[in-house]
């Protein structure tokens, strides 16, 4: 059932060969010398958990990062000088489809398909009828029939992904035709938000590309998908190649073990550990959205509950739904065992009045305003507190902001600086301080330490733990298993839009979380499966 072409031994050199590619960030070694090959006409899987080095590798190939000296890269048997310059990859015959697909929603299929050509300005005028014909041909070649004049935002998610892949393949046509050699398309997590039937279409397209003699690298969290479509797969773990597999011969368990790095404990669900008795603080009943099936969670007083899962599993929705910050399709919330209120009737203002607080994952877009002073960012939700006798007391605001800055070790601690003057970690401390200072009953977090240095991360965790000890409850969505293991009393693992595993107390560790993410995927997959 795997790839339709046979990766039979040929005299042709591998399309891509990497040897000893390493990358060090500061002191941290993100890649420790990765070597692998992609054969012509092969669909090659690239697997690994968060932080295994997959994205670093992709960024090196795309020319975003310069690898450490000493690595070797060959494309179709010819040595390539590293580091690559941004954009060099296309000239070689390599192109990328990233998760966001890089399509412009308000433009047409035709315009998107020819985007790089049309904007390159190599020609004086655009012959639209010829362009349209070329676009139709390109689409027909892969059996995907869209109207070239259709706008992207009218296409389904699946069709968008198909278009992005066709475009990626078209982008390297010039290079392929010039050299007469195969090209390489790298798909970086294109599937997590697609319905199952859509994924099948994507696979057909990938096989079609491979049958043209070019190669596809398919990066995904989804082991089932990788096993279905790829001929071979390489697994990265902690910056090293953990192994490589001929996928049709491998079992699901072998792949998971290779990703996680140890044997899976294939026992009954891990729900046996004794839970500390806590008074319930908040109960979410059937909370649902477009990305999340009805899910129910109870959080106890002073409890820190982690939410995690693979990309697209919907775990990051809950904090926003509980705060009334995203459109919901149903569900209720009740506090301290009180009456249930519909999530649809909730909005951020009401949530704040109820004693909830939300620190969104998008620090610059949703959490703080970079161009305004620290003091104003800190006291945004409780500015009224400083308004007395008709005037805002700027002096008191500044003094309290400074004190709060000291408590949370904001450096430099000058409340009048703009938020943008601080490093990412310090800016996050300001925003954490904003909410913690209000002593919320429940703090909702989404990726609270993304882009935050290790020291700051520890400070934030210490503050969270201290507040939880005083009774504050925390709901923390994160893709970082290590950080969840550090702070959580309980971790809920999501797959395909539903809670499917609960880790409690001593069961929680970095490895057990990562393992649950992958194991749960299998359990949550539909009964019919994708393999015949």
């Amino acid at each position: 059932m795997a790839g339709s072409t046979s990766p039979a031994a040929r005299p042709a050199p591998p399309v891509l060969r990497l040897d000893g590619i390493a990358k060090t960030f500061g002191g941290a070694r993100a890649l420790k010398g990765v070597s692998f090959e992609v054969a012509p006409g092969e669909v090659h899987g690239l697997l690994g958990k968060n932080g295994s080095g997959k994205s670093t590798l992709v960024k090196i190939l795309a020319g975003f990062h310069a690898p450490d000296p000493g690595g070797v890269m060959e494309f179709n048997g010819e040595a390539v000088t590293l580091p690559l310059k941004p954009g060099d990859f296309r000239r070689l015959g390599m192109s990328f489809v990233h998760q966001n697909l890089g399509l412009v929603p308000s433009l047409t299929v035709l315009e998107n398909l020819r985007l790089s050509d049309l904007t390159a300005g190599r020609r004086g005028f655009i012959n639209w009828s010829a362009e349209r014909r070329a676009a139709r041909e390109a689409l027909a070649r892969f059996d995907v029939a869209f109207d070239p004049d259709q706008r992207i935002d009218r296409l389904s998610a699946v069709d968008r992904a198909l278009l992005a892949i066709v475009r990626a393949f078209e982008e390297i046509r010039v290079a392929r035709e010039a050299s007469g050699k195969p090209g390489l398309v790298l798909l970086d997590e294109p599937t997590p938000f697609l319905p199952r039937e859509g994924v099948e279409k994507l696979f057909t397209l990938m096989r079609s590309i491979a049958s043209h003699g070019s190669s596809v690298v398919f990066i995904s969290h989804d082991i089932d998908e990788v096993m279905t479509i790829t001929d071979r797969a390489t697994v990265l773990r902690d910056g090293d190649v953990a192994g490589s597999l001929v996928t049709p011969e491998a079992t699901h368990e072998q792949v998971v073990e290779m990703i996680v790095g140890r044997k899976l404990a294939r026992t009954v669900p891990l729900r046996t550990a004794k839970v500390v008795e806590r008074k319930p603080r908040m109960r979410l009943e059937g909370a649902a959205s477009a990305k999340l099936k009805p899910s129910s969670v109870t959080i106890g007083e002073g409890e820190i509950v982690g939410l995690t899962g693979l990309i697209g599993s919907g775990y990051e929705e809950l904090p926003y739904l509980a705060f009334g910050a995203r459109p919901t399709t149903g569900g209720t919330l009740s506090l301290e065992g009180g009456a249930a209120m519909a999530l649809a009737s909730l909005n951020p203002r009401k949530a704040i009045e109820l004693g909830l607080a939300l620190l969104p994952g998008d620090r610059q877009g949703a959490s703080g305003v970079d161009t305004l002073p620290i003091v104003d960012n800190m006291f945004l939700p409780d500015i009224e507190r400083f308004f007395s006798r008709g005037f805002l007391n700027h002096r008191r605001m500044k003094r309290e902001a400074w004190q709060l800055g000291e408590t949370f070790e904001v450096r430099p601690n000058d409340p009048l600086l703009k938020l943008s003057a601080l490093s990412g970690g310090n800016a996050q401390k300001v925003l954490v301080a904003r909410w913690m200072n209000r002593k919320p009953r429940l703090l909702l977090l989404d990726e609270p330490t993304q882009g935050v240095d290790v020291g700051t991360r520890q400070q934030i965790f210490t503050a969270l733990r201290a507040a939880a000890a005083q009774g504050m409850s925390v709901l923390c969505a994160s893709s970082d298993a290590e950080q969840l293991a550090d702070i959580c009393d309980r971790v809920l693992v999501f797959a395909r839009g539903a809670i499917c595993e609960e880790l409690v107390g001593a069961q929680i560790s970095k490895d057990s979380i990562a393992e649950a993410c992958y194991a749960s995927l299998e359990r949550a997959s539909p009964a019919n499966g994708t393999q015949p």
């Binding site: 161009t371 945004l380 008709g390 700027h394």
Partner: protein, 333 residues
């Protein structure tokens, strides 16, 4: 102006950022240089308090219009319709007071009411229908201009109630007609709201980060509606002032205020509180531009130079402001 601008943090030593200090007062300094320059060229006619008194009074409607603009600009919306609102308001006064003979106080109330309606109409299309503010207010500008022409038969209406004229230019304080002080009172009120009330902070956050504001419990839509209604009312008040200054209602000249008022709003955002639309900056900018235009006119320089001065001053000031801030991204616009 606010103590936010003074005093270092309790922990830090006294640090004066001279570049920033210079930036704050640069426009005022250039204004005085301009006055000195024209003064040297025309010591008798230009450097004359009477001349300045007239300048202050006759540009009061423009100052009020610039103040009107910065309210929705701070909240992140453009209101291009303020010029047409000014005209509409002054023509409502002309038509209802002179032609229909209604009492002036009632007519003023109706004119301000029209400003409220304009603001609500703009807000409906911008916030409820989600059309970009630039498009909506461009449309309502044209709409109102047409209504004004219909209302007035495209003619200037003279003979507005003397009570209004007296209230606006009849009396003087320190030699300057009252009109100027109405604009000053508006600037005082506005700087109070901007700097000393929670509402001012909310307005600022709504303009700089809608999603941030929303997730911090601010009723973003309500703030934006409020800002647009405020600009409508202030623009209508500018129209009342304009009718008082002229003693008549002119269906055409109001739109001429629009671009200088926008120029002043942005120019004003480079001074006093650089990087923010601020009332005193806007007022200073209006009178800076007015001084330049008056001086050039008195020198007998042809009319086209006025426009060149308006536009040139705006671009130059914003450029200098941007350069002194180095690579820092612009906070506004």
């Amino acid at each position: 102006m606010t103590d936010i601008t003074q005093a270092p943090a309790p922990a830090g030593g006294v640090r004066v950022n001279y570049a920033r200090l210079f930036e704050r007062v640069a426009l005022i300094a250039v204004w005085f240089l301009l006055i000195a320059g024209f003064g040297a060229a025309m010591p008798n006619s230009f450097l004359n308090w009477g001349n300045f008194a007239i300048l202050f009074a006759s540009y009061a409607p423009a100052a009020l219009l610039a103040l009107a603009i910065i309210v929705p600009l701070t909240a992140g919306d453009y209101d291009l319709s303020v010029g047409a609102t000014l005209t509409l308001s002054s023509c409502i006064i002309g038509v209802l007071n002179v032609w229909a003979g209604l009492p002036i106080l009632l007519v003023i109330a109706l004119a301000l009411g029209a400003g409220v309606i304009v603001g609500l109409v703009n807000a409906f299309f911008i916030i409820y229908v989600r059309i970009p503010s630039l498009v909506v207010t461009l449309g309502t500008t044209s709409l109102m201009t047409g209504i004004v022409q219909w209302m007035t038969n495209s003619s200037t209406i003279g003979g507005i109630d003397n009570g209004l004229v007296m209230a606006v230019v009849g009396g003087r304080f320190l030699g300057v007609p009252y009109a100027f002080y109405y604009a000053i009172v508006a600037a005082i009120l506005m700087s109070y709201v901007f700097d000393f009330t929670p509402l001012g902070r909310r307005l600022l956050f709504v303009g700089r980060g809608r999603e941030v504001a929303r997730l911090n419990g601010i009723a973003v839509d309500r703030v934006r509606v409020g800002a647009l209604v405020t600009s409508g009312v202030l623009a209508a008040a500018a129209g009342v002032l304009y009718a008082g200054v002229l003693g008549s209602a002119d269906p055409y000249s109001g739109l001429n205020f629009l671009l200088p008022a926008f120029a002043a709003a942005f120019l004003g955002a480079t001074t006093i509180l650089p990087g923010r639309f601020n009332p005193w900056g806007a007022v200073v900018a209006v009178y800076f531009l007015a001084t330049g235009i008056t001086g050039l006119t008195m020198l007998g320089i042809p009319l086209w130079v006025t426009n060149v001065f308006n536009g040139g001053a705006l671009i130059l000031a914003v450029t200098i402001s941007q350069l002194t801030r180095g690579r820092e991204a612009s906070d506004i616009g």
